[in-house]
Symmetry: C2
Amino acid sequence: MGEPRSHSEFQPQAESRSTPTGTPPWGETRVVGKALPRIDAYERVSGSATYTLDVTLPGMLHAAIVRCPHGHALVKRVDFSKPLAMPGVVAVLGAGDQEAALDWYNEADKGAQSRLFDPHCRFAGEEVAAVAAENAYLAADAARQVEVEYEERDVVVDMDEALKDGAPRVHEGAPNLVREPSKYERGDVEKGFAEADLVVEETYRTSVEIHAPMETHGSVARWEGSHLTVWDSTQAPFDVQQALARVLKIPLSSVRVIAHYMGGGFGSKLQLSKHTVIAALLAKKTGRPVKVVLPREHSFLCVGNRPANTMTVKAGAKKDGTLTAIEMRSRGVVGAYASWADATYLATDLYRCPNVRTEDGAVYINAGPERAFRAPGFPQCAWALEQTIDTLAAKLKIDPVALRLKNMPTASQLRKDMPYTSNGLPRCLEEGARAFGWEAARKRPKGDGPIVRGVGVAAGQWGWEGQPVATVIAKLFADGSLSLTFGAADIGTGTKTVMAMVASEELGIGLDRIRVEHADTGTSPYGVASGGSQTVHVNTPAAREAALALKRQVVTMAAAQLGVPEDDLTLAGGEVASTKDPAKRVPISELKQLRQQQVIIGVGTRHPHPAGKIALPFAAQFAEVEVNRATGECRVVRLLAAHDSGRIMNCLTFQNQVFGGMTMGIGFGMTEERVMDPQTGRVLTANLHDYKLPTAVDVPADMTLVAIDPKDTECNTTGTKGVGEPATIPTAAAIANAIYDAVGVRLTTAPITPARLAERLAHPVTVG
Amino acid sequence: MGEPRSHSEFQPQAESRSTPTGTPPWGETRVVGKALPRIDAYERVSGSATYTLDVTLPGMLHAAIVRCPHGHALVKRVDFSKPLAMPGVVAVLGAGDQEAALDWYNEADKGAQSRLFDPHCRFAGEEVAAVAAENAYLAADAARQVEVEYEERDVVVDMDEALKDGAPRVHEGAPNLVREPSKYERGDVEKGFAEADLVVEETYRTSVEIHAPMETHGSVARWEGSHLTVWDSTQAPFDVQQALARVLKIPLSSVRVIAHYMGGGFGSKLQLSKHTVIAALLAKKTGRPVKVVLPREHSFLCVGNRPANTMTVKAGAKKDGTLTAIEMRSRGVVGAYASWADATYLATDLYRCPNVRTEDGAVYINAGPERAFRAPGFPQCAWALEQTIDTLAAKLKIDPVALRLKNMPTASQLRKDMPYTSNGLPRCLEEGARAFGWEAARKRPKGDGPIVRGVGVAAGQWGWEGQPVATVIAKLFADGSLSLTFGAADIGTGTKTVMAMVASEELGIGLDRIRVEHADTGTSPYGVASGGSQTVHVNTPAAREAALALKRQVVTMAAAQLGVPEDDLTLAGGEVASTKDPAKRVPISELKQLRQQQVIIGVGTRHPHPAGKIALPFAAQFAEVEVNRATGECRVVRLLAAHDSGRIMNCLTFQNQVFGGMTMGIGFGMTEERVMDPQTGRVLTANLHDYKLPTAVDVPADMTLVAIDPKDTECNTTGTKGVGEPATIPTAAAIANAIYDAVGVRLTTAPITPARLAERLAHPVTVG
């Protein structure tokens, strides 16, 4: 699903890796790296872009889903007689249908099994039944008329409660501790702590964060005979296709999933959701297309979240700042079905440290299941680890930037010291600090009124280099215009634009003459899920190779037409010209053989980078805050992000990603928190009013991006490493460190709400 | 556009041709050649197939077109005030818009130029204006409210009249004879006639035939920013894309044409029509999708027809039947804008004859333009030539089958004696005659009551081997199911099914696990127009190569997984197995590397056949008729078609084509005739009541197909040559010859209506 799942996956892979294709990285570029607007900007801002929400088919029905209102209950009886009596209600689906018993389990990690409509509801929001009606309002009304008789059971929504003896069991016969915690160890941790001049230890907590993309989850399903087409708001059309084929027990070739415009997912749309299957089943039952779009409140309940983690970090260092040992233990809540809440990656690999021990456990509670959320586990880990480093720095009286630089690794210790193709983290720290004016800001008086200022820094890396599978098909038309076809979804990040820019770079064809068709399992070659920060670095090398395949054909045609050796020809500005005789030139649109063939195609795939190296992105972020000591209000005054993501493909889309990631980091660290009622198990914040996403007033006007290009020639043939997740990893920790700098108090629980901060300022305790 | 245009195109091409790919033709087959139902049969019969007529988009408007009611007129004024006052009318398009002056000319042959809305209307039905409204009924009503002031001009709708001095000019300043007639000559025709023992000469006439596909022409246009998507009922999505880009002056990459289900075209849908441009312009103007579907009566006026030809054939033969000379002169009416009405091909190449001279001319009249119609020119030519051969046979007292066999060519004389890859015509004649019981039927008494019986034969070939450009992309999914993507439209002939069968043959994957996506210029590789009988023989070799490309990858994966040399492995039934150790086997769905890559693709292209040869299909058809000498009614009692189309891919689709082609031949020879009013230039038969398409009562229950497979190993790697047009070429002539056999009277004008036949039976004349 595009994100790390266990430490074992980080071991060097046995499979041999060939060297990358002979294509060298670009030197100077004409298109790539520039600040160019999206190729689909007009469609996106004019409203003509067809998101799943906009898909409307003739005869289409609308479905609504009946969800269990109780945190834990057994369904005893479902009565559809009232909705079926309503004019315009066409079909119902529930316990009476044999499809209700379809197997269901978390795609990503094969978590606890359940059924499509499981008679044992383990969280408030679990699917119980569905209705299809002539319009969405009627469907919603009809769903409310379904009478369900429940037998309520005891609820547990708190991790500590869930782990107590005698706590309600989320799954009968199974402990709430999902499985034996996963463990990692290297070196001799006890010896490391013994060697340390300073050891600190603290427990940090984060809250459940909801993905809350602009576009809620939705699907439209249509059958043509035995063939199913699904328009889905997904990051991973091919994964949804695969899951649908598995659940419905039909061939992959019979399932077509289309994801053309997509309004964000952040990991929550990497896998099949039950509503999609429900739409497909209702469409089959009625012989009509069926659309289901989750209401915002449902999207808070059942399509994922970032687990809340409780993390204890113990770290030891020499007086000079050299780390001697790190120990980290994490427990995360995964809701009722998921099974993965790891949050210790950075503790094992961000800093050079010979002695490390980690333990990750996951805990069932009566809540909606966890799903991958932008850098799963990493912001939580940064929250704990980077505050720990900050504490060490403070106690050792070493500048936090200097302390980090002191412990920079040259290789991935988690992968048996496999070297990085490049590691720009030292430069991120140094150049970021310089651009931020770090030293001056540190020395500035904090202020002596109620409002004080502080600055903080945190570092991060993203620990997964993606699945090396991508194919791009490029079609060159006789007039020299171009079409690109690939499988990856553009989840709002500018994938289409960047792919077109790569082709434009190689072929000299203007972006206005390039069309992208993509993310359609029926007509696109395979594309990996758009998640895990892999989209650009997996797909752009394939786009480049496809363009080069066309370039070779064009040059061959031109050589024959001009009577010039191929080696003497260059392609630029849509024209092939001799380097030796300026009179010998021909525009692509006047190539006779191309006109005869009408269209030629070039196919490109991504080649793996050299064996024995790992390509990962790095980041350091700097924050300045203003804290009102009287009220606990904290304002993030400015943020600076210094990123090594490899080559930047488009300044604008890159900046979008980084600023968006930092905004999300503000939410994670300062505002966002799912609150549940421990009595009923209901989510009390299932709306955009009570759940505090950061808004314009929470985000500083002063956000700066410092791009560190390591000129990585080994990671792939476009020099790219990825930016989606690193952008959000260190932000909250940098803000927390800035608050500590401002007020001398460390807030260990995220989000740092005014209430929490005010309470701590009223009752300060010394940490460590 | 997929059909012959001038003799010069039949000359051997200078370009070098490589030998076909190493893939040998199949020996025995498991799937190919079988009688299998369409893979989209359910969709087609259940109504779930989305034809252009069924495409419905949110916010879509409907357009109606105002057409000139006069055969010849100048538009003086167009007043939209009434329609614009109607609620629900959204936009109008006409002389006031600058797009009205867009250049327009016949795509196929660069005929006379005009404008999108030409103020000089040259036929009744020409486009004058258009309106877009909220529904189709309102649009039609509003179109009727557009007030147009015309200045009428003199009309000419008869070819002979049009060629007279002082006839009204269809194009001012240009003669009605479109251009200098095209001429062909070989040998010494005068010498040939001098050497003949018998010379016959007669003039034959055919009528204008309307394509009348089940689905009338229609398009839906939608803009997204600068990108246009058009769903079009077309045989040639890539040609429509190209023409739209040219007319609208935008890049090919900005035009996407989709043609998924298509209800017949017969050549009338090989090119862009004005209504498609009108839909695109109204969509641009309104910012909403626009659909336009031609009413049946409009489809009779403006989207093409088979020209009426007047053909004089003179032929000489020795007593033993050896042809010594053929001379043929044709004139055809092309309506107001087209320019091609050739009808002499068969006279030059069907029979061995050293001395041949032909002349083809085209004549403008005030009527809708000609368009390619199933075997353009060939049924007309067969009508004239094959009756001439029959006359020779009668006069020489040689059996008509024997006379034809006497003159079989071994090479294409039109192409400087280029050999055929195969010529099954002698077998078609011999085996067809045997299956028909020809000799016995000839000897049977005609009958002595008013109702008499007769039998006839005619031969044909199709003279064009297609454009050798096709690419197919095959995707193999991890569960061993398959997707095929290609550009060609399936115009109702079973292309999708046949392509899937080819892949199934090679990969052993069941048809229920193969999905086809096609005919979409946005997502498909290029495909030639589905016309010219080229679809199967151009595309199936590419499908086979794509499947073989997958097969190689699958075998390589299996060899690695099983630890067996690739050469020892075979793929059958979705499983790779060792030929040496039965225990070593793995289903495609369990290939680990495939699961890792999720999808692999294979790309196939068609390779040209060996240089210096030509691959063409041949046919002989036999008819038996019952003529009522009192009433002139003629019933076709039975038909037998013997076809060499190369390998037959699917018995059912092949039979569909042949029986459909013969039915069309019945229409051409017996029932169909466009009738125009010479005073007004209006079409009097612009509906399915007055225009007599053959119906169930006209078609014999006894239709037989004799398939002659020449086992052609040179034409391509699937051994296919094409069937669409040959199926309809000889039918009418065979029927006319059967009528002659029955009543001893030769009907030279098609269609042979009861009135014409009764008149000739009342006033018999001796022919020749």
